[in-house]
Amino acid sequence: MQALALVGVIGLLALLVWKLTHDPGGGVAAQLSQGKRPTAPDFTLSRLDGRGSVELASIKKPRVVDFFASWCYTCPTYSKRLEKYSREYGGRIAFIGVNTLDAGADAEKYVRRYGLTYTIVRDHGRKVLNAWGGLPIPRIFFIDRSGKVIGEMQADEDLPRFLKKLAVDA
């Protein structure tokens, strides 16, 4: 009887430890809000257009990562702005849209509708999104050449400000 109770307690403790070690805990966004500049969590995701996959860490220039979904009302505004900026900074900064919590067909329609030409990859599930801070979306992060996340877009003016900063770093 005591052994059974002991096994139960150990099981619950193991679950608690697992939860604490696997909980996203706010991810990159939380660290940025604490004034830190965390290393960008790497990901390798397949491209929406089916042309292979993209590994974030292998891109050796400043990067902008935008988490979006086709059902998100405010996402198109930022996707369109990113498209405009990608034409301006495309040679110096890599623009990556991460389609998350979305159906592939809906994402493809979204990309066609807003004429997005920068790289779009798909996060099946929310594992990558959670590592960066989870919902809500859109979430736009700015990563310098060394792979450090230097900021997240909080206000509209952040986008041109961080892009200028990254372009200087390029």
Binding site: M1, L4, W71, Y73, L101, D102, A103, D106, H124
Partner: protein, 155 residues
């Protein structure tokens, strides 16, 4: 034997319904089996844009004649395993189905053993002379003798 026949008959009577559900799923049933990925409730309980979009996608797939498992597999491919309200009955997720049953059986066993011990303890009293009248344990023989002597003096 009769019980076995009854159980088999019940299972067989439910089989056509399950088969029909697999072949011709409805949005109504899937709404209660699929989660909204952004609000933590089922689609039926959610009014978010994400939930509405998934409902539209499910309706389109039903209209194309997709089976229930095909629709569920495509949703898992897009949104991850968490999109399903119930965990699948295989692999590690099988634990989610088995552990509650194991818990119920274990709790029943613990209660059964405790009840058995309790009733057994009450049903097997020792020799009457070895216990006090108020049930607080055996009476010391020397004390018993002295009490008898004292009582004899008053008689």
């Amino acid at each position: 034997m009769t019980r076995l026949v009854v159980v088999a008959a019940c299972a067989l009577s439910l089989a056509p319904a399950a088969f029909a559900s697999e072949r011709h799923p409805t949005l109504n049933e899937l709404e209660n089996e699929v989660m909204c990925p952004v609000c933590g409730t089922t689609l039926a309980q959610s009014d978010s844009p994400a939930a509405h979009q998934i409902e539209r996608d499910i309706s389109a797939r039903i209209a194309k004649g997709w089976t229930k498992s095909r629709i569920e597999n495509s949703l898992v491919d897009d949104y991850g395993q968490e999109i399903l309200a119930s965990p699948p009955k295989h692999g590690f997720n099988l634990l989610a189905w088995l552990l509650p049953l194991v818990g119920i059986v274990a709790a029943g066993a613990v209660l059964g053993v405790a009840a058995w011990r309790w009733t057994r303890g009450r049903a097997e009293p020792g020799p009457l002379s070895a216990h006090s009248v108020n049930g607080q344990g055996p009476v010391d023989a020397e004390l018993d003798r002295r009490v008898d002597e004292e009582l004899a003096r008053f008689e």
